[in-house]
Amino acid sequence: MTDNPRFLSRGELLAMAVLALLLVVILPLALDIFRLNLVAKYLTYAFVAIGLVLCWGNGGILSLGQGVFFGLGGYCMAMFLKLEASSVENTKIQSTPGIPDFMDWNQLTALPFFWQPFHSLVFTIVAILVVPALFAFIIGAAMFKRRVGGVYFAIITQAVAAILTILIIGQQGYTGGINGITDLRTLKGWDIRTDGAKFILYFVEVVLLFGCILAAQFIRRSKLGRILVAMREKEDRVRFSGYNVANFKIFAFCAAAVFAAVGGAMFTLEVGFMSPSFVGIVPSIEMVIYTAVGGRLSIFGAIYGTLLVNWAKTSFSETFPELWLFGLGALFIAVVLAFPNGLAGIWRDHVQARLGRLLSRLRAGSTKTGWAARPGAGSVADGAAAE
């Protein structure tokens, strides 16, 4: 089609409708609040997966450090909630009342300056979006302007994840250390630990998720989305067509960081704490695996992949805790070797293709073979005829 590309193709519209039905109707009706809260936790990773589809799937920029941005978003949220939970009357048994408990344990006597603005919810929400974007911009500018890419970029993002984890653990008095920021209670006086609050937060999260889906889809459907694909394939050609390739990479990386941060902030709200174990190398790689299993070229594939792998993680790690990591590793290898486009690829190449053939056979009756319904069959023939 030479018209502007449709915002959502028919398949994507269907996938979105099914996802909405699942998340808004089926799961809330079918699951008790404990399980629904687990789904909410899984969904926070889906935000990261959407960013990875954009940055890795479309742009070919593999980041093994998305936990950093997930964590930054999560920590921003946690700082606000922690300050609210550390009111003077809640902390009157401390030697310095009114500061978070872990600061008191670490002999801090005043709130550090960078904690001060987190008394404000508005500042916190802005910080959740801006801090990760700024951090991604700095990393991106430092790397992409120097033409660092591919494996080197992936390794550096991983190093950043390691550094940030070490920093958080080391600066215990300012960050809560290895335990993270715990014992979060209320959001503007609203107790987030009750079942009712968890139920509402789940729906808030679903709404935000669809917001992110639409934002990512807008980017993918714009010319910028096609430039990302072009860059993935022939970076030099894009550069010599007059584009500043580094700026486009920085944009994709920043967008992915912001999506991840929204997920992180929701994680803190849903789960009630934030710790460095969601920032480091292992969670960052797990997030890439969710995306790869679901399909790195498909937003919806990546979301379903995230839900499935996390569900499997919960089920298997309850019964075989020591085997789970091996299982996850094997799954990743299997996907990369056999199904590079993940579940979405399997769906498109096998299920959808077969359904299409079946439908056209039903329509055409038994006289026709249904070959025409095979995607690509027509254009292959065209290409051959042109030679």
Binding site: T2, S222, K223, A230, E233, D236, F240, D382, G383, A386
Partner: protein, 251 residues
Amino acid sequence: MTIGFHQKDFLLAVEGLTVSFDGFKAVNDLSFYVDENEIRVIIGPNGAGKTTVLDLICGKTEATSGSIRFRGQELTRMTENQIVEAGVGRKFQTPSIYDDLTVFENLEISYPRGRSVVGALAFRRDAAVRERVEAIAEMIFLKDRLDINADLLSHGQKQWLEIGMLLIQEPALLMLDEPVAGMSVSERIKTAELLKRIIKNHTVLVIEHDMKFVEDIAHKVTVLHQGQILSEGKMEKVKADPKVIEVYLGH
């Protein structure tokens, strides 16, 4: 100074251009000048530095010393995308196109509008874009291929597509690196026809080995050998030059 005088007259003035890779001088104190609307062909044996010269002009390789002036702008101090915006277009030796995008999308990306991040987000495929893409597609024999993925094109069609991607940028200087290499005979004839049409209103710098083709199109020929100019001038003159026969045309 004669240098100042040249800058006004020529579209492209390359002077004292040198690039050395770990001491090996791939291009050595090279100077040449290209007029507006001139078709200049660079020939020479393998390793003479032909492609490196194009790399230097379009900013892919950084010069060790020397200057490249294009319409009075010093290209050696500009980034690749600034050089493109100044009006220099480059076609690579192997077809360099986007396999996962359609022919239309390939051409659209090269359309000179919305080249910033915000511009690309706001870019709309309007009638002007569509008409231009279709006009170019017709010129490069791909009008009925607009909707198929570029990886399904034949080698020759991919070369045409990249030429089309260059044309849509409307560059003042077109640089083509072996545009007919690897093509079938019929494709070669069609390409020659296409190039002859293009060169009517462009300044073109071509690297080519096909001597028949060179004779057909060249206004002036520059023969490179070991990074330096061996001979330069009209084809007849170059062909008769004993040095050129010795290192390149002979046998």
